[in-house]
Structures are given as structure tokens and as C-alpha cells.
Subunit: 368 residues, 4 copies
């Protein structure tokens, strides 16, 4: 579409702008599978829990794994900066919805590599799939420590990650080389367009995280002017997945949607747009087990010079246990509980039996 003379822009859509349309077939809810498998790792539900300190501790990473999803601990988060982060989290819980400056100060404490290793060991011992997140900036420094502690999946995640970072000062991370040298499968992102997704797939990553500034808690649009509506971003990345599959004669790289996922219905919409799994953050902050008592923030909210995310207080009473939040039953009609029971039900109501098939479900565009 034409913005003005000589400047065009593509129309882009949010998950809220689309909705699933029932088809002529329905199915028993018990005959639907929500299984997801990436590399050798198989999950009952297509959930990657967001590596935010607001929801992920070694304990909750284990709990998410035991409930059928994948928890990801932030190797640059509070658990790897403080020997005992519990008093810090308690103070954050009190100051939420207020002091970004306090958050900045809290994250000024240096990361300790021995803490990273200790946290990883704690998760591994439980037997669940073990995954940690590092930022692209610190990948070269921290990856050796992370890998030596033995993770199953490595998540390299920043606001925006490209396969081609230009720097004349540092020797920039060459993602392709780095991944080729590893035995551990890597999930990398975020990205928000076809080309970047395609280039990240070509680095050899097992999964690509999609989503930049799409979130209600992100202020990337206000601060940077960057916002890519999520339905479009997911569909574009899924197109890259398809083309890359063809280009390689069969390498399937998973698309993991991160952002704009608030209610259980959004999970269905993300998969309907082409996602293989969803990265959930804030919706898990309502669980009793959430380490910051319901507060929500992402690491970019603590950026020392240019914070770009809200530091939000708990929205109210906890929604329920992590089990109730993920698997139900729900006792409210608000879409904040039984998140994956709801996914199973929408698949049944539209007649699909697995996630890959459900990506084909029909959508309407509702711009009301």
C-alpha cells in the first residue's frame, strides 16, 4: 500500500485481527494431539516458557518440563547474577509497576559463570529437557560455560538477531560458524520478517523465534518505532520455513512465536498462522509458582540506557497453579487458564487431529 508518493508499506496484522473459522467437521477432544518435537526432544504441549526472571527459576523450568513443555532459564538473568536471588525477587515484586531505575540497578550486578553452571545442573538433575538463553552479545563468552554444564537446547535470543551483524570494533559473532561447531541444537531469534528468518534458518538453527515489538508489554514501538504485527510476522516466517525446507530438500526449522500471546485463543491463532510452538511469558506470571509474585518484565526492560519494556505489577490474585494455568480445568471464561486444554478443544471443534494439520485452518480477518 502507498503511504505517500514513492513510499510503500505492506499491511500487517495482529493476532487479534484474525480469528479461526470452524469447518464442516468436528472431532472428539480426546482424539486430538498437541505433541511437538524439535530435534530429538518431544513435548506434550507446544510451549516454550519465556526466559524472563519473572516466571523462570530453576524450579519453574523443571515444573514446566514436568507438565509437558520446555522451560528456558536466562543465563544472564538474576539466578546467574545473585547467589540467592530470592530477596531481590521479593523486592522487585514490591516495586513492580514503578521503578525501572530499580530494575536497572538490580541487573547491574555482574553475571557469574559458576552460578550459570550450578543452575543448569539443578535443572538437569530433574530429568527434564534443559535449555538456557544467552544473548547474542555474550554468546562467545558464555557459551563455553553453558555447554560444559550440559544443556539440551541452547537459546540465543535478543530483541533482534540477524545472521549478519556488522561491527568493526569487536569480532562479531558468526552465527553460522558457531552453530556448525556445536553438537547442541540452537534456537535463535527474535526476528520479524521473511528474509531475516530465512537467513537465521540458514545458520543451521533448529528453531527460529519470531516476534519483535508485537507485545502489549513491549515499548519497542514507542522507543524505537519498531513493531511488526504478529500474525503477519508468523506467516512470513512460516513461508521462510517452507522455502528453506524446499531449498535444503528436507530441513524443517521450527517457528516459535514470541509476543502478543495473552489468552489461550492467541495460541490457536499463532499456530493457525503457521507457528510450530509458542513462547509464553506474561500468561505464566499468574501462576502461584511464578518467582516474582505475579510481576512481569523482560530483560530489555532493564536495559541500562534505553529500556524498552514495561515493568508491570501483578494484575491481581494468582490465576491458579502452573498446572491449572497450562492444563486446567478453568473456572473462568477469560482465557487465562487451561491454556493448552483450550488449544486441544479448538482443534477438536475444527476437526483437526494434530498441530501440523491445524496450521491449515481457515482464518477470517476482522478489522473492527
Amino acid at each position: 500500500m502507498q503511504i505517500g508518493m514513492g513510499k510503500a508499506a505492506r499491511a500487517a496484522y495482529h493476532l487479534e485481527d484474525v480469528a479461526v473459522v470452524p469447518s464442516r467437521r468436528t472431532r472428539d477432544v480426546d482424539e486430538v494431539s498437541t505433541h511437538w518435537q524439535i530435534d530429538a526432544f518431544r513435548f506434550d504441549i507446544p510451549l516454550v516458557a519465556h526466559p524472563s526472571d519473572a516466571i523462570m527459576s530453576p524450579e519453574t523450568a523443571v515444573a514446566v518440563g514436568q507438565l509437558g513443555g520446555l522451560g528456558v532459564l536466562d543465563a544472564e538473568g538474576l539466578w546467574c547474577r545473585y547467589e540467592d536471588p530470592l530477596p531481590v525477587l521479593a523486592e522487585i515484586s514490591e516495586k513492580a509497576d514503578g521503578s525501572t531505575a530499580f530494575l536497572q540497578k538490580t541487573y547491574a550486578e555482574p553475571v557469574k559463570t559458576e552460578l550459570i553452571q550450578e543452575r543448569i545442573r539443578q535443572i538437569r538433575e530433574s530429568g527434564v529437557t534443559t535449555a538456557v538463553r544467552i544473548s547474542p552479545q555474550h554468546t562467545q563468552d558464555l557459551a563455553p560455560h553453558v555447554l560444559s554444564a550440559g544443556v539440551d537446547l541452547l537459546v540465543i535470543q535478543g530483541t533482534i538477531v540477524s545472521a549478519e551483524h556488522v561491527s568493526t570494533v569487536d569480532s562479531a559473532l558468526n552465527l553460522k560458524q558457531f552453530i556448525a561447531d556445536l553438537d547442541t541444537p540452537v534456537i535463535v531469534g527474535g526476528c520479524a520478517d521473511y528474509k531475516t528468518a530465512m537467513h537465521l534458518m540458514r545458520t543451521g538453527a533448529a528453531g527460529v523465534i519470531v516476534g519483535v515489538g508485537a507485545d502489549a508489554w513491549s515499548t519497542s514501538d514507542r522507543v524505537l518505532g519498531i513493531r511488526v504485527p504478529m500474525a503477519t510476522a508468523i506467516a512470513d516466517a512460516a513461508a521462510a520455513r517452507r522455502d528453506y525446507l524446499d531449498e535444503t530438500g528436507g530441513r524443517y526449522v521450527h517457528v516459535i512465536a514470541d509476543g502478543d500471546l495473552t489468552f489461550s485463543g492467541d495460541i490457536a491463532k499463532a499456530i493457525a498462522c503457521g507457528a510450530d510452538a509458542v513462547m509464553l511469558g506474561e500468561p505464566l506470571s499468574g501462576a502461584h509458582e511464578a518467582p516474582a509474585g505475579g510481576a512481569w518484565w523482560q530483560s530489555v526492560a532493564a536495559h541500562p540506557k534505553l529500556p524498552r519494556g514495561q515493568f508491570a505489577a501483578a494484575a491481581g490474585e494468582p490465576v491458579g497453579s502452573l498446572r491449572e494455568v497450562l492444563l486446567g480445568p478453568a473456572d473462568s471464561p477469560d482465557g487465562d487458564k487451561n491454556l493448552f486444554g483450550a488449544l486441544r478443544r479448538v482443534m477438536a471443534k475444527t476437526g483437526y487431529s494434530d498441530l501440523k494439520e491445524f496450521q491449515k485452518v481457515e482464518l477470517v480477518l476482522d478489522l473492527h
Copy 2:
């Protein structure tokens, strides 16, 4: 329209997005007919009252019939679970806008077939057209009891009903076979797209209910990601009706719009989009006679594991008697009273003399 590369979606519109345009002719309001006939049953107004316990009791079903419409009692509702539902309704009336958990508990009481029969008999005795609703899941069990009590119209209604339910556990209901074996005409739904509507028409149903998740009180979009804007859903079902009429050389299956109908103007819009009749729920909850004192919910709001509808308190003082709500006169400009007097007037103001003709009225699309 393109959501992203390789994923398209059709633009869909709400009743609120459209409006009726006057034409070059006007007509006396007394020379307009709002008569509606389905099978052998003729009604003064094209109203099917929603089988919600919030508005339908045996008494109100009779009252709606006497005022010219069709009342439908829920055979799986409170009147068929409790010998005396009045204390239950009184408690619900107090707890509305709050405890979905309480609603879930209330509906955990089993359905009693003898109560179903008793309630039906009570309605029949009044002489009005008798109709009850059963869910597709319980049709095989409950239909014999319902039919033996003698209903005129059977309404098989669930959130989404398809003509082709896949189940390997239960022997699924074969709607086509079931309807063929019956003498009683059947109304079935909801559905929300051309194909499902067409398949439901091919089961031999006399009427098809259109509408899934379109309602302000539905949370189907939040919970399941399913929402089909109503103007589009109705127009699509009307297209199926037209094609099915052609396919069969003359079987006319009625399209009954259910959802997104709040004000009297919405009734006109639904018919202008192609509906033959409207299923009204919440707008009747403001009548003095409403059994739950103005509270509003649908049965899906009481779902034991995944409620998908609001349990709303009375919006304020009652609007008026059921007669005033349906037939006026109105003493407010809010579109909540004299619902069918308003329909008659818009037909007069646009020069149409019956409902079938009025389906052709011109619309504008207003996306403001």
C-alpha cells in the same frame, strides 16, 4: 486478503459494521408484515427466544409464544435438572457477574428425563408452538424422552455443530439419519460458514442456526480463538440456503441468526444480511418476566472445564414487560424496547412490505 506470505484470510464484518440505507420509496407502518413461517408453524414476529435459563422458563416460553414468537426451553437446563429451580435462579441472580465456579456447580446436578417431560407438557398445555433444545452430545439419549412428550420443533444446538463428527470412542450422532427418522422438524446449529451451513441443510433440517463466538457475551475468541463476525456469517449461510434451494429444486431451509444481536437495529441488519429469523437472548433478559432477574449467561458459560461465556449481572432496572420489550411502546431511544415495532418501522421507512423482500435492502459498510 494476505495475512502474510502464503496465508490468506477473508475480511469479515460485524452487524455493527453495516447499516441499512433508505431507498426511494417509503410505506405506511401498518402495511408492513413481519410474519415468519417455518414448516407448518407461523409466527407474527421472526423471533426464536434463546434457550438460556436466564430468560426461558416454561412460563416465559409460553409468554413468548403468546406474543407471536417461538420460545425454546433448554432440556439440559436448570428446569430439567431441579424439581424447583426458583431458589437456584434466585441465588444465581445474586451471584451473577461473579462466580463462574458457582454456575459450574449448579449445572453439575444431573438432568432428569421426567422433568424434561413435565416442562414440555406445561408448555404444550398453553397451546403455543412447543420447542426444546438438546445438545448434539446428548441427542441420542434425550431425544426419545423429548419426542414422546410431544414437541412441535426440536432444536439441536451446541457451540459448533457439524454434519460430520469424528469419534472413535462413541458412536457419533449421524444427524442426517437421525433427522430422516423423525416426524418432528429440526432446527440445528450453530455454524458460521457456507460449507458447514450447506452440510447441515443437507441433513434435512428445517432451520440452521448461524453464529459462533460473535457475541459480546461470548469469550470464544479469547478462549478458543474462534470468532466469525455475524454479518458475514449470515450472508454466507444465506448463500448456502440459495444454493441448496437450487440443488433440491425447492427446499427452503431457514437461516436463524444467533449472536451479536443487542439492539432492535441489529434485528433489521441481520435480516438485511439474509436471516429469516433471529434468536434473541440477552435483549430479553431485561424483561420483568426474565426468570433470573436480569442476569445473563448461556449454557457454555457453565462448562465444567473450559467456560466460554460471561456470567453477567443485570444491567440495571428491568426495561419493561416482555410485551413492551417485544412490541412496545418504547419510552427510551436506546433500541432495547419495542424490538419488533422497530423492525416494522425500518421496513416501512425503506418501503418493504415483508421480511423476504427486506432481505434485499441496500447496506453500507461503515468501518469507522
Copy 3:
């Protein structure tokens, strides 16, 4: 645009959806003329004051005339029902924003033809152009009394007026015949589409009022489902004017926009869409001279069975004198004062010198 299969609708736009674009020329504000002439009557400003009892009394009709516009008194309004309407208006002023039932009761008092004649005489005596409004339903009864009292312009106005009213009971008003038999020029409406406007022009009317349900104070959309966004309605009527001018080889019928006019900027937009003059109602209710102390309603708000307009209390303190409201100066940036000084200024800022030229100004569509 396609609403659904087989049902199309035209996209329509509100005045708020459009805005005037400056052009490459500007002009001194003193070199701009806002003169408007209909039949033999010439006005300094293109203003027809709405025949609402909230703003029009014999006194204010005279005042509007003296300030350069055309006041229209309602021959079926309170001044022609009550010998002394001042106590009634005082009571209305107190009950506004509340009791439509009270308004209904007030308007149940019969119209008195001798009062109509007395009020007309009072306006005539001042020397301003004299105009009264009658409804199409009562035109045959009331017109003789109105005409014998000597009006300059007759306004036949209802919610929707067509050139072809179907009635088997009454002998319906044949507008074309009626107008042909008159010496007095007639303004007639409302209408909201090309065809109706064209047919009304063919009745011989001097002016056609455009606007149905477009107003914020109208509830025609809620009650009847009728709403035609104003920018589109005006442009369509202007197209009818152009085609009728061609058809007749030179009869120019004026298009008078009525509805959705709240701020001074809306006047410019209406003319930019093709209007020759604007009918202002609510914006004049803020004048000190407004007879109902700032309250606002139209006659349809008092309909005995189906009211379709709000009965709104004064929005706050009066905005200023009628002179200040119309001609300024303004001491606020809110667009509620100096309404026609603002029109003059936008014409200057876009380089146009008269209203007819200004109808060609460029517009943008802003759907934000």
C-alpha cells in the same frame, strides 16, 4: 465490498473520516465570501438553523436571520402547541438527559393552527427571511395555515422523506403535485442516497436536506439499523444535483447537509463533500439565547412509540452569544465558536474565494 457471499455493501465515510488538504495557494481572509443564495433569498453565511425546539423560537429565528443565516421554526413544535411554552421549556431544561417519557408527554399536546400563524407573523415582522418546518405526514393539513400566514420558504422535513410514499389507507401526499401547486419554494428531506435525492429534486424542490441517522445524538442506527455516514451521503446527493442540473438543462437544487456537524471544521468538510449549506442544530444549543438553556433534542426524540434521538442535557456553561457562536471571536481552540469565521479562514488558507469553488477542495481519507 463483499459482506459475505452474495451480499455486497458500499463503503461509506463520516465527515470525521475526511479532512481538507491545503493547496499551493493561500488568500487573505477578507477576500473570501461565504454568501449563499437559494431561490430569491440571499444569506451571508450558508446556515440553516435546525427546526428543533431546543434552539429555535420566534426570537432566535429572527436573531439567526439578522446574523446572516436562515432560522426555521417547527410548526409542529412546542411554540405551536402551547400558548406560552416558556414554562414547558424551563421544565425540559431541568429534565434533560433523563426522561424521554416526559418529552413524549409534552409533545402529546395538540398543535394549534392559530399559534402557527401567530409565530409566523412574529418572525415576518422582523423582516428576516421566514421559514417553518412541517412533517410530510401533516403537510396536507397544516400547509394551508402556514402559507396563508406568509412564509418565504417551506421546509417539509421528516426522518426519511421519499418522493413515493405507499399507503392504502390515507391518500398519501404527492410531493410533486403539492410543490407544483405552490408559489413558495420548498426545501425537503432528509434523504441519504443518490436515488432518493434525485427523486426529491424531481419534485421541484428548491433544496434537499441530506442526512439520516448520521448524528451522534441520533439513535436511528441502534433502533432502526439505519445510518448513512455523512461524507458519502453528501457526495452522493451532490452527484444527484449535478446529474439533475444536466437533465433539466440548468435547475440547480441546493444540497443542505443535516447531521454529524459538531465543530466548525465539520462545516468546511460538509461543503468540501459537496453541500451548498449546512443545517446546524446542537452547535447552536450552546448559545446564551437557546430557549432550552443548552439542552438538545430533535422532534423524533419525542416520538410516542419509538423515540430515536437523545434528549441531552446542556453540556456545561453556555459557549457565548449567538453572535459569538456564529461569527466570533473565539477564545477557545475547540471549534465551538466563530463557526463561520472558521469557514472563511479555511477557505482563505486553501486559496478559495467562494463556496461553490471550495466544493472542489482536495480531501484525504483518514481511517485512523
Copy 4:
């Protein structure tokens, strides 16, 4: 697009409607340059501070210059009307968000040419680039005084400035002749469309200011019906720049975006639409140094007959020092601090190294 029959309008978009899309490359933030040069004057950041008395005093003009931008003092503002404007500013600061009448009275005090010269001298002495604004109406009278005091850049700015002003009373300013006769480079505006921008470029101006009524604090839309959404206005002016560059074989006229710039992200969007620099007003009113204590208004808000801008009180506590507002660091995620650090970062995150390149960044249109 068709508004109605025979009246078309172009769809136009706000900065809020567009967003920047990341590309496949990223870059170190330290390798990005935000330099801007107009005529012989070079700036570290592409900032022209708005000549509003709310933010510009001789002191803040100097401070903006020292921080790398261009401050512009209003030669018709309070500093050139009052010997000591500080008490006036203090009183304005108290009355803000209220009395437009008070603002009108304050600006009724005549402009004094000796004060203009004194203020200019004060800025010059600091060594920063010196610029003042005069209105087109007073250019012929005031320019000699301004120029003799020695300004580096002359800003001729009104709500709407055209290259062709029609007046039969005054001898209208001939911009082309005026600029040709000057040694000092001139920046002129506002304008909001391709044609006016092109004609202003042809007057010989060094820069053209783009933006009419696009601002949240402007009431030009309400009062005059004029509003040109900013993304479209900038893109159109940039197209004029390109065509004029071609027409002249190399004269590059700078496009300076003025309006609808609230958060740091809006700066990036304006440049992405084609702007060379941004004129910031209200975002600087939050600086400690702002002379009116956080209140915000533009000169048009004080217009004696038709004010068209809000007189807004301080939004709350000051955001920080002018240095923090412009260059950071930020301790909030709200986009109101570190405005140009944010610009630098979005350029880095999308892989661009200078402003001219960044004008090519991809945009999405998000009409949610």
C-alpha cells in the same frame, strides 16, 4: 478512494499507523551516525527545536545548539514582546490547561524590534548556529531587523505557507523574490502536500517544514477541518524533494517534519518516511530547562480570533535535563528520554549507518 459518487480522496496515514521493520542485517550502535547538515551548518542530531515560547528562550536555544541540534527562537514570541518575560511565563505556567483568553491577552503586547535584536545577539554570542522564526505576514516588516542582528538561518513559518499568496489589499510577500535577495538560507513552511512543497522548494528555500494539523495538540481539524496525516505528508514532500533535485540537477532541499512527533520512535518513523530532520516541540517541554515549567502551546493557540491549538498544562514532573531528554540515558521505557540515542539504536538494529540510508528502511502499515 471514493468518498461518494464523484468525490474521491486519497487515503492518508499517521506516523502511528506505520512501523519500522528490521532487516537481515544489524550493526554496532557506535558505528551509526545521526549527523545532519543543512547549507553550511552541521548538526550531531537531526533536531530543529520548535520556536514555541513554551520551550525556546535564548538560553534553551543555546543549550539545544550545544547538545548538537538547532534551536529556533520566535521573533514574534514573548521574548520579543516583553523586556522581562519571566513573570509572564510564570503566570502562563500556572494558568496552563485553562485560559486561552489569558494567552490571547498575553500575546496582544506588541513585538519590539530592539528586543528581537537583543535576543539574537545573546544567542550568537554563545557561538551556536543562530536561527529565529518570523511569520509570513510579518516577514517584510521584521526581516530587516532580524537580518541586521545576524542570524545564520531564517525560519519563515505559519500554519500554512504557500508560494502564492493572493491579496488585493496588502502587497503580498513574494517569497521567491525575497529569498533570492537574501544571503541567509531560509527554512519555510508548514505545508502538507506535494505541490505546495514543490512550489516552496522552487522559492529557493534551503529547507521546507512539513506538517499541518497533524499534531495531538493542534485543533486545526476541529476548527478548520484541516488535518493531513503525517506519514503521508512527509512521504509526499520527500517525493517533491526528489523531483526537485532532478529538475534542478542537484539542489537538495531538506524536509523537516513538524507535528505528530511525541515519542522517540516517532522520530525514526518520520525519517523512515523521508524526513531529513525533525522539529520537536512538546517532547522538549518535559526538560527541566523548559521556560514555561512544562506547559505546552504553539503561537496559533494564542490567535486573537480563532485559536487552533491547545494550551496544555505540564504533564507531570519534569522528565529530566535537556541533555537526558535528547541524549539519555533513559530510566523509563516510555520513549520520552534519550530521544536521539533511540534513533541511533533503531538505525543500528536495522543495519543502517547514516540518516540518508535509513530513509530506505522498510515499513509496515498497521491499521489496528
